[in-house]
Symmetry: C2
Subunit: 96 residues, 2 copies
């Protein structure tokens, strides 16, 4: 539901994760962890990131595929496009 999408986007760390995934799709939990630490200086535990990814997944913003002991995370942008059109007036002005 839209509720889950908005709540998922409310957290800065989760938005960072989406930034990482849009830059390189299909990363594992550990890859995302190290990237967040090195590139953005976020000092978070692995569990924290794992929980964030769970929130993103249940919101439909991230899809996962298991492969052996790895779990790859892929970005899904469909929910994003839906939620915003909610408040855009019918006369959507196209950029000139």
């Amino acid at each position: 539901m839209a509720e889950d999408v908005f709540k998922a986007l409310a957290d800065p760390t989760r938005r960072r994760i989406l930034d990482e995934l849009v830059e390189r799709d299909g990363q594992t939990l550990f890859e995302i962890c190290t990237r967040l630490v090195t590139k953005h200086g976020l000092g978070l535990s692995r569990q924290a990131i794992s929980q964030h990814l769970a929130v993103l997944e249940s919101a439909g913003l991230v899809r996962t595929r298991r492969q052996g002991r790895y779990k790859f995370h892929d970005l899904t942008t469909e929910p994003l496009e839906r939620i915003v059109t909610r408040w855009l007036k019918p006369d959507t002005p196209e950029a000139p």
Copy 2:
């Protein structure tokens, strides 16, 4: 900032308020209050709505104009359009 926009959108009541404003622009605090109560069954105090409107305004989603003892609230959709393009890949697929 984008941070304020996302946090503003995180709350269901604030999204209801945006729904009301997109339906009829330029409402006062009291109008919004009564509408939320009658149409959506939300039993919230006037202060609660006032604080929500303050959040929406500081996020740039609502603009206000004072006129006598009335304060009218207008919706502003510009921040919405900006924040979502953040994760839409460069090859934006147009609807066929």
